[in-house]
Amino acid sequence: MEHATTSDHIEDVYEPSLTPDSLGKLGMWIFLVGDTMSFGALLAAYAAVRAGAGIIGWVPPDEILGINLTAGMTFLLICSSVTMVKALESIQNGNVSRMCTFLGLTIAGGFIFLGLQAYEWYHLITHGLTLTGIPDHGLSGAAISGSTLFGPMFYAITGFHGMHVTGGVIYLIVILIHGVRGRYTAEFNHEVEIVGLYWHFVDLIWIMVFTFIYLL
């Protein structure tokens, strides 16, 4: 009796051994933690540059960037996160065709997001937001001078995120192809869960980028 209690206690204190399923998840989590540091460094640099320009002047981003379009892009990524969890839920219930449908919708969401980002970049570049300058909307000389780093920071951060979305869409397409070929079942589906972790991370990062770059 005493022996059983001790072993229960040990099981409670220590993590169980890694299984092939959990090893993949742990690997993805470690990658995401490292990626968080990359995005964190970029956003910290943006915050620092903006704070540093405060003495001279900083153009409010909402005067340059379209909030409505990016709010729509945020909504789109949230929707694609929901379709992603619905895909996982479907395969865990053994419904392969439903999983493939939801994965397809998630991929479509990613493609539309990338299309909107390309449209936004084209619009901003043609209106003067470049790596060396910002559009002149009757802004004071001080504000323009203080904001010269806005363009490079904006394109670096949104471009880095866009590359992650592109990678996520490719990753999802590979998983969808495996799904269509019947690789996943109610018992074997951890690869779908792992791609889901990556996709939700892309959504989570966009939530931060939207707030720090577009709204603040």
């Binding site: 993590e15 890694l18 399923d21 959990s22 998840k25 742990l26 989590w29 470690i30 995401l32 933690v33 490292g34 968080t36 540091m37 964190g40 460094a41 956003l43 910290a44 640099a45 915050a47 620092a48 540059v49 704070a51 540093g52 405060g54 003495i55 001279i56 909402d62 909030i67 409505n68 709010a71 945020t74 909504f75 949230i78 929707c79 996160s81 929901v82 992603m84 969890v85 619905k86 839920e89 865990q92 004071s140 000389g141 001080a142 323009i144 001078s145 869960e193 889901g196 972790l197 939700h200 991370f201 959504d203 989570l204 939530i207 931060m208 939207f210 707030t211 720090f212 709204l215 603040l216």
Partner: protein
């Protein structure tokens, strides 16, 4: 990683409505002419709430072992510290010494 036998799913549509509501609230906060500090607190608070919802329910962090949650939260804390660590170098007047402040554009059309 995940607790054994965990097949119950949270109500994802509830999380979706919360995320949508917070996104709309974020956009509405930008419209009125609020003090920048208040605006920043509200926006960062709502962004963190959304991030926590995504991580906890969509990424199932709430159902994982506590050790994993600690590993995941650590870089976020380090990133916040990084911002504060960079601030002293960038917000001091000394950095701008010797930089001539650009002249404000004066509108002379009314004269």
């Amino acid at each position: 990683m995940a607790q054994d036998g965990h097949k119950e799913h949270p109500k994802y549509m509830n999380i979706f409505w919360w995320l949508l509501g917070l996104t709309i609230a974020e956009v509405l906060v930008v419209i009125p002419d609020l003090p920048i500090a208040l605006k920043a607190i509200l926006l960062i608070g709502m962004a963190c709430s959304k991030a926590i919802l995504v991580a906890n329910y969509f990424m199932h962090l709430k159902f994982e072992k506590k050790t994993l949650a600690i590993i995941v939260v650590t870089p976020f804390i380090i990133c916040v510290l990084l911002v504060f660590a960079l601030m002293p170098d960038l917000t001091t007047d000394a950095r701008h010494e010797g930089i001539e402040k650009p002249a404000e554009v004066v509108d002379t059309s009314s004269h």
